[in-house]
Symmetry: C2
Subunit: 357 residues, 2 copies
């Protein structure tokens, strides 16, 4: 029986990834020089495919880093002079905030209970934020923030920078990148690729901020500072020898997704999430963790299982379906089901069927 991973990431590989890997090896992609024309062509293909898939404006640069965690680190180093402002409703938003503290910046934050969203309309800001850090899709809780709420922040604070964590919502989430300043994801989630590549997309305002910080003699980091990254990115190159295979595979998967159509991917994602939410909404003993439907993520679905977690996970795995455990404190009392572009509707129906008995 084939095993299918519905885990929040690492997750099921996107179809054909195994084949592309073999092809890459055959074409000596792991032996070519990272300053060669061959590499530049791979980089270009990935850059343009990703830009097209996500409808990224021309004033954006794409940096290939190593993980989403690194993206947080580089954003804080390059975009914060004094204070970052964090919306915290889960473990990954906390990680972003902790990064800022560890890099000796000051932080301001708004925290809500796990499983809940923010009431953006009622928020009061005591100072003009320098950088907003927003976890658009909280992988630990399954809470998503409506992009419109993020755009409203931009309206009220046009001078602030806005960094958006779309680690488990990309490429599903439809972001207007003109209304934010940077966003990042890692490829082992919605893109279904081997882990080891983080993608950071930044606009010119972020680059300008890094230039400003440097001019004020504030360290913006070493080899992966925005200026060094940008200088290389415009040449379709990286500062150091990168994860060439990862960049190549990302380009291939983006190309596949473009062929499939991002609108189709979005529609299918919503169809699958509706099936799951409707099923668990009506379930007798299993309860959705996120109570307010408007706060619910389309790609990460947290279900409270109480003491039945092991039993449910086993039932599913006996049927070839691997789901994730809860995160942190909820590790043993929740399951998390990912709903990414490689997950098929028939397998979602299978989950429902298995859990119906």
């Amino acid at each position: 029986m084939k095993t299918t991973y519905f885990t929040p990431g690492p997750t099921e590989l996107y179809p054909e990834v195994g084949h592309y890997l073999q092809q890459g090896i055959k074409e000596n992609l792991c032996s070519i020089n990272h300053r060669s024309k061959e590499f530049i062509d791979i980089y270009k293909h990935t850059h343009h495919s990703l830009k097209k898939l996500l409808n990224l404006p021309d004033n954006y640069a794409i940096f290939f880093l190593n993980s989403a965690t690194e993206c947080m680190d580089r954003i804080i180093q390059n975009c914060v002079e004094s204070t970052s402002f964090h919306f915290i409703n889960g473990a990954f938003a906390e990680r972003f905030c902790k990064t800022s503290v560890e890099l000796h910046k000051k932080i301001e934050k708004i925290e809500v209970e796990y499983g809940r969203g923010f009431n953006f309309k009622d928020l009061i800001y005591f100072s003009y934020p320098e950088l907003f850090c927003i976890t658009q899709n909280e992988t630990s809780t399954g809470v998503a923030i409506d992009p419109e709420d993020i755009y409203n922040l931009k309206k009220h604070f046009p001078e602030s920078l806005i960094a958006v964590d779309i680690v488990t919502s990309a490429p599903y989430v439809n972001i207007d990148y003109n209304k934010i300043d940077c966003a990042f994801f890692s490829v082992q989630k919605g893109f279904g690729l081997p882990a080891g590549l983080g993608v950071l997309m930044v606009n010119f305002k972020c680059i300008e901020k890094a230039i400003y910080l440097k001019s004020k003699n504030i360290s913006i980091g070493s080899y992966h500072n925005f200026l060094s990254l940008y200088e290389n990115a415009v040449k379709y190159q990286t500062t150091e020898t990168p994860n060439v295979l990862g960049i190549y595979l990302l380009g291939k998967v983006c190309e596949d997704m473009i062929k499939r159509g991002i609108e189709n991917i979005r529609k299918e994602t919503e169809e699958k999430s509706k099936l799951l939410y409707d099923f668990f909404d009506g379930h007798g003993s299993l309860k959705l963790f996120v109570k307010d439907p408007s706060d619910r993520s389309q790609t990460i679905i947290n279900i409270e299982t109480g003491k039945k977690q092991a039993e449910i996970k086993k039932k599913l795995s006996d049927n070839g379906i691997i789901v994730g455990s809860g995160y942190g404190n909820m590790k043993e009392t929740q399951i998390r089901i990912a709903n990414f572009p490689m997950h098929k509707i028939e397998d979602v129906r299978k989950i429902i069927r298995v859990l119906s008995h």
Copy 2:
């Protein structure tokens, strides 16, 4: 005709890497959770295999980072309070030094002309160095430093930390890790693996230094600071989702190398380098860049070609052999031939045969 890469890295893949990749995909290694028992088992295997292969003492921790460049960054952040001391004889030693400057540390340095080694006996130090940064094998110039010279530094400055770049000499170089404090390499060189993984090995003195810096309220970085890395490494885990496939492949290649015997690998490396050095020493127009035989690297061989570079590279590539160009200023007037464990003596003989005509 099969193409063989004799480039300094990325280079020819170690035999069977393509097969291991396929096996890894088949075993769902890209889908498993990085906190799962399956991942911990992979990590353990790689950790113990590498430790055995390199004869790493028990007071060493191994950190899986993303590149050798990142290793430099993390060493400076975690081991330098005020000043790092650099031996500079090439572009990678300069990169290490620049990293320290970019992270707002002070630097002291000794520089020699590219292609030459250091006269360690005659060096005068004006203060007691905090951290020595040594590029044991300079990939840009083909100059290697005798480990004995490094051990002597330790004798004279037992309180200093010694960081050693063995990026293109590992696993060939026979280092007594008790006489240094940390060392690092990236896997796309002597281990013949896809790029995207840097390996940093540090002893307790380095960890203690990071603790000391933190206690003095000096930032040691965020997710990849030594304390966070160490805390996870003792559990055979990583701070963030790592390059799982890279860690897995490294373990497999280390296992293969252990079977082959590190002493055999070292002997074969020296046999192959002797063939190349003897050939170029006696060549009419092609000249070895490193004049003093005691400064010559066994794994990176720089040859001055003058204006004939393109012609020579073509002659070799027509025969299925790809060599590297020179580095930086020497890009168009030198070739570099790597001599790593996956390079076969018959292919070395082929290089000599092709260039004899």
